[in-house]
Amino acid sequence: SLMLQYIVWTAGLMLAIAVGCNAQDVFSEELLTAWVSPQHLLVHFRFDQGTTASRLHTSFPHAIQQLASTLRLHAVELSLTSGRWRYTTWGRPLVAVTPVGAVLDASLRAGLKPQALIAHWAALVNALSGLSCASFSLLHDPTSISGGGISLRQLLAPTTGNRSAEGPVAGGQRLRAMLPHEPLCTENLTPWLRLLPCRDQAGLASLLRHRPTVFGAEYVSLGLMLERHATPKGRRGVRLVQTVTLVIRTALKRAQQQQQAHPSAPGADLETVLGARVEHFCPPAMRSEVLVAEPDSPEGLFATWRTRSGGVCCESEDESQNGSCPLGDYAAAATTGTLDAHNTPGPVREPSRLLLPVMIPAGSPGFAVEAVSQALPALRRYDTLELLEVGDRALGLQLPYPHPQPSTQPHIAGVHEMRANGDDRLAGPDLQADRYVTGANLLHGAVVLRIQRSRELRARLEASQCTGWRGSGGAEGGGTCGSSLVCINQLFPWYVRPWMHTLTVLYDGQEVPLRPHLVAQQVRPAVQRSSPGVVDLCLRVPPAVAEVQLRVAFSKAFLTVFEYPPDAHRGFDVPAAVVSYLDPLYAPAVQWRVTSPGDVSGAEVVSSPLLSGLSAGPVKQVYTVGLLVPLAAPDFSMPYNVICLSSTVLAVYFGALLNLLTRRGCAAGHAAPERSKVSLGGKALQALLMLVLFSALALYLDAELRQHAMELLAKLGFPLEFKLK
């Protein structure tokens, strides 16, 4: 009985600890899908974990806790990407997009001495290389580290007022490093999944189980964000955000045609697209949701909701109005759970809720809803657990059909209409940046950065002239419109040396003086073999300007032979340039409201990490693709080296011998002829010695020559007695 009592007590204690820890570790998982073109599906996973416990975790990965508690860091952001976001066909990304390769962004606590900073950085880089299987230990090499430059957000900070919410931690030290040529593959995903409580065995992460689909995607990005934070009650904790963004090409075209022929035919299934199934729910998850972007524009849905907030569906089956009144159906579906499959091709059996991004005007207390955000789509929200209860060990989530227009965003659709009308000059997203190298010289070259702004963006800029965000302004021009600012951040490795005096700026092909348009600048020249150069420029670009070009000439450094990578002839990577601008469509207060048959203002407000991440901030960043700069590389091939070496040795030998045989004694003097006569024997001796020296040297260095010598000796009949042993 004593034993039993003991067991009961132990069990009780364990339970208490478990409950206590449960309260301290939280985990939430979300998934967002949206069609970015008729063939391309964006799938974005976001896993949030947080803990306030310093030991004894139930789900939070201990390695991360260890890292956060041993290093004095505020936040670390790591992204590994392969492929690039195609702005022209996929439009503006809904979620944050990262440049190709690996990017590591760390903000460490202020007040670290330079030596301690280097030690912290090295420890961080090594720990992350162990945690992600990426070759981050190469980032030891300080040529890839740069301090954080000026950011548009910081420039605007004094007037926007919400510094604490968005801005980087004041006084912290930001370090940034890029590896543009880092591959991304299964070995990176394996340790990344290990940080999740259910790995890929349960929960939404099991959709990543079919690796060929994941890594066969046209754009794959793996993100990891670690942050120390404090709860509202003042408890310190650690937060870990893991994201995966995939853009998968699907062969949906045929299915779509089928659907047009037979409207009741089943459409694309999320699990079929990803090639994996969610079989189990991940128990530690306090939130597990799937969000599906509606292909219809949110404005139409919103208008319908406002007019028909009584919950009445449009009874008449008018073909022309087909797209404008599905909301009533959705609302009905939300309440009753049944819906005629003919009206909406979307999911019907699952209980789902439609979320609309509504804007709350700055002054109102939150009731007067005027419009929906144009930048965000309407979302349909599903609960994984509910889906799993309905489906048989699968989500069974049917995706809506994409619009023939290749984007969920209305303004992109507009662009395509424009393109159809023959005006394809500005087809594409809001802002597009590309970059290229000119010049075929091995010593000099020039790099051109071209930024194109769409007609929509310019129209909106003109409309919102000086009413939106106000910048703090540069030295001149106190009334600068924040929205007309364009900031450029470019990192140059030390072996690519830009000449800043050659920087020219062209607005629509016309060269303009730099000074009047420059709002802020920070240029840090590279230090040979130790740190890269950073160029940060913020320009004021009038709304009428469609294209901005920046050109700068550079010279290329010579590297020593050991500084060349194994694939030197491929060229040297220059990291992506970042172009940031203010989004005029950004609404500071977007709420996601559930469309229910009732008043708009009274609708339920939904929030989650993923939803708030969608409307993160006014600053949009566009990354250029990578750039390769060819440097002068020697011929590394082995025969070349061998020939070089042996010819050098031979040249030295013949030179020395010739010198010996032809030189006449000492420099000058009457005694020279006599000495030369006298030392004829000596010369012969010297020549002989030279011969012996070099042949012995050759024998010493060359194993094959020794072999040949041995064979020769054996043939000549010399007894090599130890060979007979």
Binding site: S82, A122, A123, N126, A127, S129, G130, L131, C133, A134, S135, S137, L138, H181, E182, P183, L184, C185, T186, E187, T190, P191, R209, R211, P212, V214, F215, G216, Y564, P565, P566, D567, F636, C666, S679, G682, L685, Q686, L689, M690, V692, L693, F694, S695, A696, L697, A698, L699, Y700, A703, E704, R706, Q707, A709, M710, L720, F722, K723, K725
Partner: protein
């Protein structure tokens, strides 16, 4: 004058010492008994040294061995994998995130879960030697260290392009035979292994291993001097050779091996044929009393350890020994030298054509016999000596003449 002569003599002496130190490699340290430590853990260092898409097969070689040893129970934490280029997610790979060693594509050797510890530019000679000798910077994470000890069996596998006494790393560096031998000697000194099996699949692989003299090391080479290690299995879809012949033959043997197998190295060697590989394999054991048929493959390729309880009176022990059948059953998993194992070995004919085949394979190869090496080494040492002497005499005569 006297000062300069003294200096010359000192230089000569130092140079002689240097030459003398070069010939240490031929003083083969032979040990005659197996390590007294019990086998408690398994470690593996699997290295591919070739970069670029055209060397797909070298990375598949290494990944295939990784697949085998992971299947036989060695966990990722005990495997140091060095892969210099990304083949699975290479833009040229039509089958993303997969690697195949057979054109039927039925077995993906890359798999769902893989942990590459050193990759890309990190695969260097210095990193490889650091992993072997354990001389890391203090901040290197545990996952990148070989944390073996005197009770660990270590498997080292190398695949890449090589030549006479070297193997190329990442197309720019060479690992030399002497450096490798020195690193293994250092491992032995530091007690970093109990027994070590080193397999090298390159051209002229035997030359890379011929200087190894550390005790309790078994080396297996895929080819002899002046021989190539050829590729196999051309895939029309990928447009490449998929694997090398020696590794293919090895994998074919391991298909029938599971964790309980008692197959020995001799069984494996018996399957190697010149007709298939077009090269002569060879093996060498620095422990002279050891024979291939004494070495079980699972000692190195599987995680089979000899675990015994330290006390024979503990409560666990009575539970363990209480039921004879249970003990027998469990011992089959934990003990390597169970008596019925020996019995079953006795029942089988001991390698039917073991000796004859070995003789055929090993002795028909132009094997680097000790005496040959010794002669060449002697010539090397003496030629260096003569070179230095003649240099010294030359300098002396020049000195006298100028006086």
């Amino acid at each position: 004058m006297s000062l300069s002569i003294g200096r010359g003599l000192a230089t000569l002496f130092i140079c002689l010492m240097w030459i003398g130190s070069g010939s240490v490699g031929i003083n083969v340290l032979t040990s005659t008994e197996r390590s007294t430590y019990r086998h408690e853990s398994n470690w593996a260092v699997l290295v591919s040294t070739s970069r670029f898409w055209l060397n797909y097969r070298h990375i598949v070689n290494t990944m295939s061995i990784y697949h085998v040893i992971k299947g036989l129970g060695i966990p990722d934490s005990n495997i140091i994998l060095m892969i210099p280029d990304d083949m699975a997610c290479n833009a040229r790979n039509a089958l993303p995130a997969q690697l195949f060693n057979n054109e039927s594509h039925w077995l993906d050797v890359y798999g769902q879960d893989v942990e590459v510890d050193y990759r890309g530019y990190e695969v260097t000679v210095s990193n490889f030697l650091q992993v072997l000798t354990g001389r890391h910077d203090s901040i290197v994470p545990r996952s990148k260290r070989l944390m073996s000890d005197a009770s660990s069996n270590v498997l080292i596998y190398l695949s890449g392009h090589g030549g006479n006494e070297f193997i190329k790393f990442n197309d720019v560096e060479e690992l030399l035979a002497q450096d490798l031998a020195d690193a293994l000697a250092q491992m032995a000194e530091k007690g970093r292994y109990r027994e070590l099996l080193m397999i090298v699949e390159t051209c002229e692989a035997a030359t890379l291993l011929q200087r190894v003299s550390a005790p309790n090391v078994i080396t297996v080479a895929s080819s002899q001097k002046d021989e190539q290690s050829l590729s196999f299995k051309s895939d029309p879809e990928l447009g490449l050779s998929l694997i090398d012949r020696f590794t293919y033959q090895t994998l074919a043997f391991f298909e029938s091996i599971d964790i309980k197998s008692s197959a020995t190295l001799a069984d494996l060697f018996g399957t190697y044929s010149y007709e298939f590989m077009q090269s002569h394999f060879s093996y060498r054991m620095t422990n002279v009393t050891l024979r291939p048929r004494d070495v079980k493959l699972t000692d190195f390729f599987g995680s089979v350890a000899d675990i015994r309880t330290t006390s024979d009176r503990g409560s666990q022990d009575t539970m363990y020994h209480g039921d004879a059948q249970m003990g027998r059953y469990m011992a089959a998993y934990v003990d390597e030298d169970a008596p019925w194992d020996i019995g079953s070995k006795l029942l089988q004919p001991d390698m039917p054509n073991d000796l004859s085949m070995m003789r055929k394979i090993v002795y028909s190869a132009p094997s680097p016999s000790d005496s040959g090496i010794r002669t060449r080494e002697a010539i090397r040492a003496w030629s260096g000596f003569v070179a230095l002497c003649s240099l010294a005499i030359y300098m002396l005569t020049a000195h006298v003449r100028t006086k």
